[in-house]
């Protein structure tokens, strides 16, 4: 019964081998693939192992990271750099050739604390070395006191970006340190200013870093009584947001001012903006009303938009959010607000109300997503027109990759894909592919990094494998 199939197999063998040769040629030229990163990682989780495959820009698997096993976590932290963290030997590895860039030794612990800052703690020497995303040292400090052996892994760190510098809170065991790291100068030092530390260490306050000052707002935002803005020098510029500072800028100027910096403070309390020309403005967004101004002359010379590296996501608190969208096509900032049940876009100084009765789920460079009782709507940010509507999973808008909503990923000029629920949609909101059968690790330039069944690799938008590896699960 298999004789006819054998004949068919022989015929198709030639076809498939020819296809394979053509596929190889395509890989070699790199024309079929164009990833932003030279190398990409696909984490593979099995029952007893975690492996990381590394792919080159042509989509070929070029290796598996060494040291696979529980306890090892690998992160692609830069264009070419992978950081292996935790036990036993933290190290930075070049993702392309798997060569070690910066190696650490026993007793050292590595942590990623932001996309731009990484640290390695040497427990014995009590040193902390800070690295950027290219595994270059941007500063190092020696910590006072001793580090408990029994709590060697009890290491946490938060980073606050303040202009070009980083203000980093490091907690090791029961000790807490506040460190300034200055990448341009490749220096770091521990902050000792008591005026600033008083605010920083107040457990009842939320801290927000912005430019070269910090804003502090109590956690309980419903009945805000006071807040503070503290400069690095320790000067408290404002300590009461309720009533004592009268609006000093005409309300009608709000829409017209080009705000190139912002802080969103949670719980509908306050927002602090740096305007393009005149320092800081403080708002209570519930009323979209200017209530005060903080003047910081030393910031005036900063170029507009200098702090924005991409997209400002809204802080969603109840039904109120504010933010700015960087329109990647026009390299422009579009301010927006969502208040109660309306989504507002400020265009050319005018407010556009997109839709009422919805809950904002997220916003990207070009789209915003709202959940309504009857489904999920996706709007184009710039003109407020509806882009697509999705009804099946009204409560979900699944993120892909690290950049938030999939539609951030531009497949080609003027063409976007996005995901809601488990379905991928094209520009026009047409479902392209249902990915319910695979686990997605990342979505880059229209290509999945995914696992399906016992396989892992790279697949196209429609779930067809471009590169497939067998995943061993034992």
């Amino acid at each position: 019964m298999f004789g006819r199939n054998r004949k068919m197999i022989r015929k198709l063998t030639a076809i498939l081998i020819l296809s394979g040769i053509l596929l190889c040629a395509s890989f070699a030229s790199g024309e079929s693939f164009g990833y932003e990163n030279k190398a990409l990682l696909l984490p593979i989780t099995g029952h007893e192992t975690i492996s990381y495959y590394v792919y080159d820009e042509a989509g070929n698997r070029i290796g598996r990271l060494p040291g696979s096993g529980w306890g090892i976590r690998a992160k692609l932290i830069g264009k070419d750099t992978v950081m292996l963290t935790d036990d036993p030997m933290p190290k930075f590895i070049h993702a392309g050739n798997l060569k070690v860039i910066a190696e650490t030794g026993p007793g050292q612990i590595a942590r990623k604390i932001s996309s731009k800052v990484y640290l390695i703690l040497d427990k014995q020497r009590r040193d902390v070395t800070f690295y950027n995303e290219n595994a270059e040292i941007i500063g190092d400090i020696s910590l006072p006191g001793e580090i408990s052996d029994s709590l060697e892994n009890y290491l946490y760190a938060d980073v606050y970006e303040t202009g070009k510098d980083y203000f980093i809170r490091i907690q090791i065991s029961d000790s807490e340190f506040y460190v300034w790291v200055k990448p341009e100068e490749k220096t770091a030092y521990i902050e000792t200013n008591p005026e600033l530390l008083k605010w920083v260490q107040d457990d009842n306050m939320s801290m927000y870093a912005f430019g070269e000052f910090f804003a502090f707002i109590p956690y309980s935002g419903s009945s805000i009584k006071y807040g503070a803005v503290v400069t690095r020098e320790g000067l408290v510029l404002m300590d009461d947001l309720e009533g004592t500072i009268s609006p000093i800028r005409p309300e009608q100027e709000y829409d017209a001012v080009f705000y190139d910096e912002m802080i969103n403070l949670y719980n509908s309390v306050s927002a602090v903006y740096r305007t393009g020309t005149s320092g800081y403005d403080v708002f209570v967004p519930e009323k979209l009303q200017l209530v005060g101004e903080v003047n910081g002359e030393y910031l005036k010379n900063r170029s507009a938009g200098g702090y924005f590296s991409g997209i400002a996501y809204p802080e969603l608190a109840g039904n109120i959010c504010e933010g700015f969208v960087l329109d990647v096509d026009k390299h422009d900032y579009i301010p927006y607000a969502c208040k109660d049940d309306a989504f507002l876009i400020l265009k050319d100084g005018e407010l556009i109300t997109i839709q009422g009765h919805g809950k904002p789920l997220g916003i990207s460079s070009a789209y915003c997503v709202f959940e309504f009782n009857e489904g999920t709507d996706v709007y184009k940010v710039r003109d407020g027109s509806i882009f697509a509507r999705y009804n099946e999973y009204p409560t979900q808008c699944v993120s892909l990759g690290s950049s938030g909503i999939a539609m951030n990923d531009k497949v080609e000029e003027g063409k976007y894909y996005w995901q809601a629920g488990r379905t991928i949609y094209d520009n026009d909101g047409n479902p392209v592919y249902n990915n319910e059968n695979q686990y997605i690790s990342a979505f880059v330039n229209g290509t999945w990094y995914a696992r399906r069944g016992v396989y892992s690799g790279i697949m196209d938008l429609y779930g067809n494998w471009i590169v497939r590896d067998v995943l061993a699960k034992e």
């Binding site: 197999i9 190889c24 059968n437 069944g453």
Partner: protein, 297 residues
């Protein structure tokens, strides 16, 4: 022709495993009348050994007419050799296509209802070295001595004057089960000379990439090493002078042959039993063979 090209050609050839399924699903000829037919939703919850994956996917396509993507997805909850026995015993699977369970797993299974284990095909434990290693064959005793530390240098088995680095799979793996059963028994393994490699693929990759590449010795099962992860730079060696192949495994000439099984239990669905029964027919055994495995009978 570079390695990537060779790999792609190999993958293309390996894809042929699926071709009979496409033909059958189209209902070609009356000979296919005995093949079970069912909807994708009716396809039983299946699991097994990694080396059985191509056969499982081909089976899914053949009996349901599903797409390649759907066929891969039937193994979404794949657990591999030893865990899948317990999944079946606990009622989470309907059918397994699987290699032999480890002794520890067999002990665990005693507290469950007995499983129906039937021989589906034959495979073999095979040994691999880097292509630069001049050794062509080992005896079973030599392998035993290497893993128990009595032989530590390749020159003792006809190779270069170089320390042997022996790779080992975890005790819970299917290939290690065969290693224990066919070679090592309860022998204590020597520390330092042996590296445990978590995955079957990793074992073969390490043989290719190990820093003293020609020094390493590893093992796998024949189907996986020859059909699923056949990479340049790694070579199968003979055992007792017999090279592993479908022919020498089928004839029993190759000394390290072991069966693999179709396993069900009383809780298995009717569709699972239907598939099991068909796989054991002459037609089903032909399917096993056509998928690249060695039939049981």
């Amino acid at each position: 022709m570079n390695h990537k090209m060779l790999k792609t050609i190999f993958l293309a050839a390996a894809a042929l495993v699926c071709l009979p399924a496409v033909s059958f699903a189209d209902g070609e000829g009356s000979a296919a009348a005995g093949i079970p037919q069912m909807s994708y939703e009716e396809f039983p919850r299946i699991d097994g050994s990694l080396a059985c994956v191509p056969m499982i996917e081909t089976l899914a396509k053949m009996v349901t007419g599903c797409t390649d993507i759907q066929a891969e997805a039937v193994l979404e909850d794949f657990t591999n050799t030893n865990p899948c026995y317990l999944q079946l015993a606990e009622g989470n699977r309907d059918i397994l296509l699987v290699y032999e369970a480890a002794e520890e797993t067999k002990e665990q299974l005693k507290k469950y209802d007995p499983l129906d284990i039937r021989e589906l095909g034959k495979d073999a434990l095979v040994f691999l070295v880097n292509e630069n290693n001049p050794v062509q064959s080992l005896t079973i005793d030599q392998v035993y001595d290497i893993y128990t530390g009595k032989i530590t240098n390749w020159s003792e088995v006809g190779g270069n004057d170089a320390e042997i680095k022996a790779f080992l799979r975890p005790e819970t793996s299917g290939s290690q089960t065969l290693m224990r059963k066919l070679i090592l028994g309860d022998a204590e393994l020597v520390e330092g000379q042996i590296d445990v490699i978590p995955s079957m693929e990793g074992m073969i990759d390490e043989l290719k990439e190990y820093e003293n590449d020609s020094n390493a010795l590893g093992y796998s099962v024949y189907y996986y090493a020859s059909s699923m992860h056949n990479i340049p730079g790694v070579r199968l060696i003979s055992v007792e002078g017999i090279s592993p192949s479908n022919e020498t495994i089928s004839s029993g000439e190759y000394p390290l042959v072991n069966p693999f099984f179709v396993v069900t239990n009383e809780q298995s669905s009717e569709k699972a039993l239907e598939i099991r029964d068909w796989l054991l027919t002459d037609e089903g055994q032909g399917f096993v063979e056509e998928c690249g495995y060695v039939r049981a009978k």
